[in-house]
């Protein structure tokens, strides 16, 4: 690293003030709707509630659908563990207003029958709420089924395409996980703040489908706006589950790129990284930014020994298990400890977002009950979700009423070795900003709808 060291630290420090922002609520002004500062955080009901009038006797059934098997099965097993954890906690407290939760599930890896399986959970198994969906393609395909046919609430916790929430008003579909656009926008801001003058040529490597294309559109679009003099190279897109990245790595090296943006995820992100280190890619690429690196399972696959010296590697995601810091935000600490205890792993982002989805259900039902004094109908429930703020491991999640998008702090962090404290590489020097700084207004997106 050279030059701009002081301003760099300064930026990191200022951005780190996002932590303090948690206590006072998010910055306002960008939103037309009332922000969370005006909306009290729903307090979880601590004691078992019994004998409230108007509560159905039978349990509340929630269905979840994730990739449970196959190469992406780790998403589903982590999400399922987190959902079970939340349900156990709530049922231990006596359920939601005294009504216990029961779970059913389906495997998103059953590619031909994703919609059928959602319908089955609702129609045959009596699921009143659906949580899940890893694939953006599946989430978009499910819109007509959910909105028109089934008319049950779907809380998406992973699929990240802006199109789900930003390309039209949905009634029953919500998303509590951060979508890709704010993450990519913050990535571009970081490049501007920290590396202006140091980088000149920007390359991209991403998965060869909508997510990879959209991420590059957003990141390069924002970066071009911020630093018009940069040279943007032709983006590289690789098929999912590529074994050999060597060819792409040598092409990138040959291109003379000094900044590499990547939207590779999961095993592909780890495979690419390992081969890039072995092939000396980071001799010429000085800054590597991967929007999906902040997943603990991916970092574990990269391995602590494999973190190179002399290159700035940045990662982001929908949640980072060390943010908000455990000493100032016990909810995250408890969640990390419980998840570690249950699974032996540090929670990846899918765990935190699916965990908060269950608590969003609880908070919305309680909120509706306060005004209705009866168990809410579907329409009451979705109305109660709008504008709700739910405390989650990632901090309070504010569900924006217009587009049903969950908003919370967005981060990027610099990769460093985790040892001896952690067995996996971790993200350090976190740059965290409140959503108001980087989330576009409702229904505004750089991706074409």
């Amino acid at each position: 690293m050279s030059g701009g060291g002081d301003s760099r630290r300064e930026f990191v420090k200022i951005a780190g003030a996002g932590v303090a922002g948690l206590a006072v609520g998010y910055g306002l002004g960008m939103f037309s709707a009332p922000g969370p500062a005006e909306e009290p955080v729903e307090e979880p009901v601590e004691k078992p509630v019994e004998g409230l009038p108007g509560i159905p006797d039978e349990p509340l059934k929630i269905g979840y659908i994730y990739f449970m098997t196959g190469a992406l099965g780790t998403y589903g097993t982590n999400a399922a563990a987190a959902i079970e954890l939340a349900v156990e906690e709530i049922n231990e407290m006596g359920g939601i207003l005294g009504r216990r939760i029961e779970l059913t599930n389906a495997d998103e890896a059953d590619r031909e029958r994703v919609l059928d399986n959602i319908a089955r959970m609702v129609q045959d198994e009596g699921a009143e709420i659906i949580i899940g969906l890893d694939s953006s393609g599946d989430a978009l395909k499910a819109i007509p089924l959910i909105e028109e046919e089934l008319q049950v609430p779907l809380i998406v916790t992973h699929a990240a395409t802006p199109k789900l929430t930003e390309c039209g008003r949905r009634k029953y579909i919500f998303r509590v996980s951060m979508y890709e656009e704010p993450i990519d926008i913050l990535g571009a801001e970081i490049v501007k703040q920290l590396y202006e003058g140091e980088v000149t040529r920007v390359a991209n490597i991403g998965p060869d489908y909508a997510y990879g294309y959209d991420s590059w559109t957003i990141f390069s679009g924002k970066l071009q706006e911020l630093m018009p003099d940069l040279e943007f190279l032709d983006p590289i897109y690789t098929p999912l589950f590529t074994t050999d990245f060597g060819t792409y790595i040598d092409q990138i090296k040959n291109s003379g790129a000094d900044l590499l943006f990547s939207s590779l995820w999961g095993g592909d992100a780890a495979t690419f990284f390992k081969q890039a280190v072995a092939k000396g890619l980071f001799d010429s690429v000085k800054v590597y930014m991967n929007a999906m690196l902040g997943a603990t399972d991916t970092l574990e696959a990269i391995g602590d020994e494999n973190v190179p010296d002399g290159v700035d590697v940045w990662g982001s995601g929908r949640y980072w298990f060390l943010y908000p810091p455990h000493d100032v935000y016990p909810l995250n600490k408890e969640f990390v400890e419980k998840f570690l205890d249950k699974t032996g792993n540090y929670p990846p982002y899918v765990a935190a977002t699916s965990y908060v989805a269950v608590y969003a259900v609880k908070a919305a039902i309680e909120r509706a009950y306060l005004s209705l004094e009866k168990w809410p109908e579907v329409d009451d429930f979705v109305e109660a979700l709008e504008g709700l703020t739910v405390p989650g491991p990632m901090g309070p999640v504010y569900i924006r009423p217009e587009d049903h998008q969950g908003l919370y702090d967005v981060y990027w962090g610099r990769l460093r070795r985790g040892g001896p404290e952690y067995p996996i590489p971790i993200l350090d020097d976190l740059v965290v900003v409140p959503p108001a700084k980087v989330v576009p207004k409702p229904f505004e997106t750089m991706v074409s709808c």
Binding site: T243, G266, A270, K274, A278, K279, I302, E305, N306
Partner: protein, 295 residues
């Protein structure tokens, strides 16, 4: 264009072809001898990856000696698994509809995916780094492990060739390939050779998994993607031919690298275009004719 880039990219193509050859040779062999399209070949490759990972990373520590032991363990475990599968599951299906064999090998994928998940968990399993260092070539670097893989791939091709042309067992297997009935009439124990052949094909899948795992990120289901490309390789080269698998791997390896360098959008498409063209011009694949004529 920089000459060192061309050299390094040619080497990348050879490397990729070597991995493909290790995977597809076993698939082709099983088809050639037994007429079984083994859909679970990718799942066997996955088991091989996990076995080498276990031996090297979980048990012995990363060095070349433990790598070799890891490969041997993968060959033995997956080869043994292959023989068990053939004896217990496939044997009762001989002479029955091919659909049953397809269904069975498909079921094996699901079973093995779950077995792997039970033993090793759903998490990614990966080597912390590649064994060995990298050699500079101009501005580029070639990891020793890439070179090792290429040498290993070609050595396996030579060993297989010698096995089928020089050894009695190899010759008996070839005889059986052309006509099981005549081979049987000549006193060759075809029953036992079927088990041996399936075991050998499976062992090759296991070795392929072991060789690929240091570069790759293992997870349940990792075999599913690789099997599709392997089918393309053996369709191009000719189903059942080891020579064909080698040539098919080289064609796929080089055409991919060529496309990434010149016209990346067509990277995957070109492989299937070649496959389609070969099917049109020579439906048996480049080296498929020989066997068919003699049947």
């Amino acid at each position: 264009m920089d000459i060192s880039l061309i050299v390094v990219q040619a080497f990348n193509a050879l490397f990729y072809a070597s991995i493909l050859f290790l995977i597809s040779s076993g698939l082709s062999l099983i088809y050639g001898i037994m007429r079984i399209l083994n859909l679970s070949h990718g799942a066997l490759y996955m088991v091989g990856a996990y076995v080498t990972y276990t031996v090297v990373i979980l048990w012995l520590g990363l060095d070349w000696f433990s790598m070799i032991l890891g490969y041997l363990a993968s060959i033995l475990v997956v080869g043994g698994l292959g023989i068990l599968v053939e004896r217990i599951l496939l044997k009762p299906l001989y002479g029955k509809s091919h659909d049953l064999q397809l269904l069975l090998t498909f079921a094996l994928i699901l079973i093995l995916d779950d077995v792997v998940k039970m033993i090793w968990g759903p998490e990614y399993r990966a080597f912390p780094k590649l064994p060995g260092f990298s050699i500079p070539v101009g501005d580029f670097q070639v990891p020793i492990y890439f070179i090792f893989t290429v040498l290993l791939g070609f050595s396996v091709a030579i060993v297989l060739h010698l096995f089928f042309t020089r050894t009695t067992v190899g010759k008996m297997i070839r005889a059986m390939t052309y006509s099981p009935e005549v081979a049987s009439a000549l006193g060759i124990n075809t029953d036992r050779l079927f088990a041996l052949s399936f075991g050998l094909g499976a062992a090759l899948a296991g070795l392929a998994g072991g060789v690929a795992v240091p570069l790759y990120t293992a997870s349940p289901g990792m075999g599913t993607e690789v099997i599709v490309l392997s089918f393309a390789v053996i369709v191009i080269g000719g189903m059942g031919s080891i020579k064909g698998a080698l040539l098919g791997s080289l064609i796929v390896g080089f055409s991919r690298v060529f496309m990434v360098m010149l016209f990346p959008v067509m990277e995957i498409a070109l492989i299937y275009i070649i496959m389609a063209l070969i099917l049109l011009v020579k439906p048996t694949g480049l080296f498929g004719m020989e066997m068919r004529e003699r049947r």
